[in-house]
Amino acid sequence: MRRFWASPAVRIGASISVATGLYGISFGALAVASGLSVPQTLALSLLMFTGGSQFAFIGVISGGGTGAAAFGAATLLGLRNAVYGTQINRMLKTPWPLKLAAAHVTIDESTATAVGQEDPAEQRRGFWVAGVGVFVLWNTFSLLGAILGGALGDPARWGLDGAAVAAFLGLLWPRLKGREPVAIAVVCALVTVLAVPHLPPGIPILVAGLVAAVWGWISHGRADEGLEPDVDPYPSGGHGATDPTGGEVR
């Protein structure tokens, strides 16, 4: 047990689990404020289990969008997890039926922790500790946030609409490395604001998504822009930690 905790990947995976799990509290509170019930909130954290998509789903609902529009935004935002999945599969070579569990905990945090390690055993430990650790804490704190959010009453009085704005900016921020990501973000934000008065709630997000997809299709920039997990477990110049699609993986 002591040797287990001596592993750098395990310690990094554990600390990323605590940091990420804690902000499940903001997801839970915002989900209830957007009109979801506590069981619906917990269903998203347990079953969807990919923070960006969960925030997208409730963000569309709180803006008055339909369930279908929320589904569309959450699904498109989750597409990057498929790219993470290929990385993890190549590194870990997880056997069946464990592959199902590995797929479920394939998220920004577990991918970033694994990719930052070079030794295959460390990659495996880092992935599982971060994946399972975030899963347990994220769900615990989502539930806590949902209960607290329900007790708060009027969401606007507590600035919960401002909290949602801050949460999305916080998710976007780490991906704005370089000129092209910033340009994509500015254009998509503008498209959204221009589309809001003319389209049903929630649909402007999908229009912005379409613009971004076309941009990606015709762009010639670095291939992995925006695909850096939104956490960096290795801030002091770790190798390839923020680059799961790069050439670091053997």
Partner: protein, 105 residues
């Protein structure tokens, strides 16, 4: 809440899982096509930026400038100061609540 919302929640959860699983199952060269990787990356940035914009200014189908602008600016400052995510969220909430309390929102 309506059963309609439950339907979309569960469908979105199923598709989210299948997306992750697809990455583990599909031959790597298919998903690692440079163009698909670019699309996935641009999509992630574009959708998050759109969600920032919508949550800041939309009120149904109206564009409204209110306390949420203050929350956006405060959150950006917190991020520039390298505050952790949870602190950024609290700063955003605090800014919006404070602006409303002082009648500026």
């Amino acid at each position: 809440m309506s059963t309609g919302l439950w339907f979309w929640i569960l469908l979105a959860c199923a598709v989210a899982f299948l997306t992750k699983l697809a990455g583990h199952l599909v031959p790597a060269r298919l998903l690692e096509d440079e163009r698909m990787t670019r699309v996935a990356g641009a999509l992630t940035i574009g959708l998050l930026a759109s969600l920032v914009a919508m949550n800041t200014v939309s009120s149904g189908q109206d564009v409204v400038l209110d306390a949420r602008i203050g929350a956006l600016v405060a959150a950006a400052i917190a991020l520039l100061l390298r505050a952790p995510f949870l602190v950024v969220v609290l700063v955003g909430a605090g800014a919006a609540a404070l602006l409303r309390l002082t009648g500026m929102g």
